[in-house]
């Protein structure tokens, strides 16, 4: 397939006084699966519409294969989009819906037919061709919407929360299919979602956004392991990372973290911010339950059992930490336990940014 790379340079967009996007830079390689992740209202859908050419940016450049497409209409950009609401044409059959884009581009009829069949085969919706959208289930509509994009063989796929209207079980299976599909057709995809599981499982590259700003662009593993700031740290991971306010202190040439109600020896870590207010973060699975030289004492407040594992909410005096425990472990609320935190697993943030 004839796919393209996408480059965004300093994209800025205002709606009235609201800054929808400020200075967004992004590069997506040919064949890469890029996920725009963020809470609702962060500007990710606006960005997608700008790439499609449905909205014009106030400043900045959109480039496909290194060439600016700012002056091109959506039609000329040759991108395909799958909408959250699917936006199928209700007055056309599935076959007509699928073939519409090709028909509008003057592709000869036999070719349209061939490509429609090919994509319906790929998605397993061959027997729906003569139906109208209103006769389809949610999952089937979603497939048709995907098919409408696939048939076109565009240079770039734009997907706007395509799974958010499916129920949870279907969503998981379609997510897997989407991943396989991407591997099969090696397409360049920009995928918008607010669901971190979708982002982590699908993306070759994840862009975390909030309030119109890009907070981090990295591989999913890196985003999880090294969040660039406290927002990303909190947003990625479930249950979310424990973050504690405190002060960085120097004692005998070693760094210590003094939080409310507990202190931590940071071991070999030598943060270069001197003695200052910081936040330290630790993921629930990085806290070890059990005795050690530096263990902290805490009281189990509450236990959430999610089946595959348990999460303990442990009170350390003035702060509360979420700690992962294996599913076999038995704890009682009120029980006093010892927690050990490996300094190498800590995330330290100064003024919100990772150090």
């Amino acid at each position: 397939m004839n796919m393209a790379s996408l480059t965004l340079k300093a994209i800025t967009k205002r709606f009235g006084k609201v800054m929808a996007l400020s200075c967004v830079d992004l590069h997506v390689d040919d064949g890469e699966f890029c996920v725009l992740l963020g809470p609702s209202g962060c500007g990710k859908s606006t960005l997608l519409n700008i790439i499609a050419g449905l909205i014009l940016q106030d400043e900045g450049i959109v480039m496909l294969d290194g060439k600016s497409v700012d002056r091109l209409s959506p039609r000329e950009r040759d991108v395909a989009m799958v909408f959250q609401s699917y936006a199928l044409y209700p007055h056309m059959t599935v076959a007509q819906n699928l073939g519409f884009g090709l028909r509008m581009r003057g592709v000869p009829k036999p070719t349209i037919q061939e490509r429609v069949l090919e994509s319906t085969h790929l998605l397993g919706i061959e027997d729906l061709l003569d139906r109208k959208p209103r006769e389809l289930s949610g999952g089937q509509r979603q497939r048709v919407a995907m098919g409408r994009a696939l048939v076109r063989r565009p240079r770039l796929f734009l997907l706007d929360e395509p799974l958010s209207n499916l129920d949870a079980r279907l969503r998981a299976s379609v997510r897997l299919e989407l991943k396989q599909l991407h591997r099969k057709i090696q397409s360049t995809i920009v995928y918008v979602t607010h669901d971190q599981v979708e982002a982590m499982t699908l993306g070759d590259k994840v862009v975390v956004m909030r309030n119109g700003k890009v907070h981090q662009i990295d591989q999913p593993e890196t985003i999880y392991a090294r969040p660039a700031n406290t927002f990303v740290a909190r947003f990625i991971g479930s249950p979310e990372m424990n973050l504690c306010q405190g002060r960085l202190l120097q004692k005998d040439g070693r760094s210590h973290f003094q939080g409310a109600g507990f202190s931590l020896d940071l071991g070999g870590l030598k943060p270069n911010v001197g003695e200052d207010e910081v936040e330290v973060g630790i993921r629930p699975e990085d806290i070890v339950i059990g005795q050690s030289a530096t263990a902290l004492r805490g009281k189990v407040e509450m236990i959430s059992n999610i089946g595959s594992e348990k999460y303990l909410h442990v009170d350390l005096g003035d702060v509360s930490l979420t700690v992962r425990a294996p599913k076999e472990a038995i704890f009682q609320p009120g029980q006093i336990i010892l927690l050990t935190i490996d300094p190498d697993r800590l995330h330290i943030f100064h003024e919100g940014l990772r150090i």
Binding site: G53, P74, S85, L88, P90, G101, M104, G138, R141
Partner: protein, 277 residues
């Protein structure tokens, strides 16, 4: 108990209402099938003797009083008004709903402003104006006036309908390779069929039934529309009731048929199934 009473009252109310509304219709139709002598002999007779049905009044009205001409005039005026009004309202309504341009808000809200002026206030200045320019006594002028009269409501109706159409569908159309006009033609219009039908019906009714402007602006009998023709007939020297009734039937029936025919389409929604659901 109480429910049954309410039910009975409701049915009775409906019957009375229907009787009040349909009685003039009934009388009109019955009288149009009678001969002049019968009407004069028994003016209060409401019944109709099936064996004595007389189509003579229709024949006379159509061929001797020029109604064939009036009908074709009315058909011409109405159809041209409908076509122009629906076309302009579609394009205009789409523009104020979807496109962003300077003055779009004001435009959108001032559409109905013309309805603040009753027709009688407008007709005299228009009469004077058109007389000066020498445009009076022309059927096409009538179309222009009807267009001005129907367009605001047509625009308003279509705008309200377009606002209910999901914009994503049009965006999908744009991405699939349509131009703006292509989107209107291939997506908006097919989906707006019910709204377009009601606008067409509304416009047709106004144009077909309109009397005041036709009365003021048309002088030559060859250019009369139906409603104008009926008044001409009613005011003529030999007042034959059955002729006026037959003429009135000819004015009313087409609208009635159109309404019954279109009514079914008006309620059908077409957007079902487009979006998630």
């Amino acid at each position: 108990m109480e429910r049954t009473i309410i039910r009975i009252l409701r049915i009775m109310g409906l019957i009375i209402f229907i009787a009040i509304v349909s009685f003039p219709f009934y009388w009109m139709i019955v009288s149009s099938f009678k001969s002049l002598s019968e009407i004069l002999l028994k003016p209060a007779n409401l019944g109709l003797d099936i064996r004595k049905i007389d189509f003579h009044a229709y024949y006379e009205v159509l061929f001797e009083h020029g109604f064939l001409r009036y009908i074709s005039n009315s058909v011409y005026v109405s159809i041209v008004t409908v076509v122009l009004s629906v076309t302009l309202a579609t394009v205009g309504g789409y523009a104020v709903t979807r496109l962003r341009f300077r003055g779009q808000k004001i435009m959108s809200y001032s559409i109905l402003l013309i309805y603040m002026f009753p027709a009688i206030v407008l007709v005299i200045p228009l009469y004077v104006m058109f007389s000066r320019v020498g445009l009076r006594d022309s059927i096409n002028l009538l179309i222009l006036v009807y267009l001005a009269q129907t367009l605001p409501v047509a625009l308003y109706m279509l705008r309200s309908y377009f606002q209910t159409l999901p914009p994503e569908m049009e965006q999908a159309g744009l991405i699939d390779g349509c131009s703006r006009l292509g989107v209107i033609w291939r997506i908006v219009i097919p989906l707006s069929a019910p709204a377009l039908a009601s606008v067409a019906l509304y416009t047709f009714m106004i144009a077909w039934n309109e009397f005041l402007f036709a009365f003021m602006f048309l002088d030559t009998p060859e250019k009369f529309t139906l409603s104008r023709g009926v008044v001409q007939l009613a005011g003529s020297v030999h007042l034959s009731k059955q002729l006026v009734m037959a003429a009135s039937v000819m004015v009313t029936i087409p609208i009635l048929i159109l309404f019954l025919f279109f009514e079914r389409r008006l309620v059908q929604g077409l957007t079902a199934g487009a979006m998630k659901g």
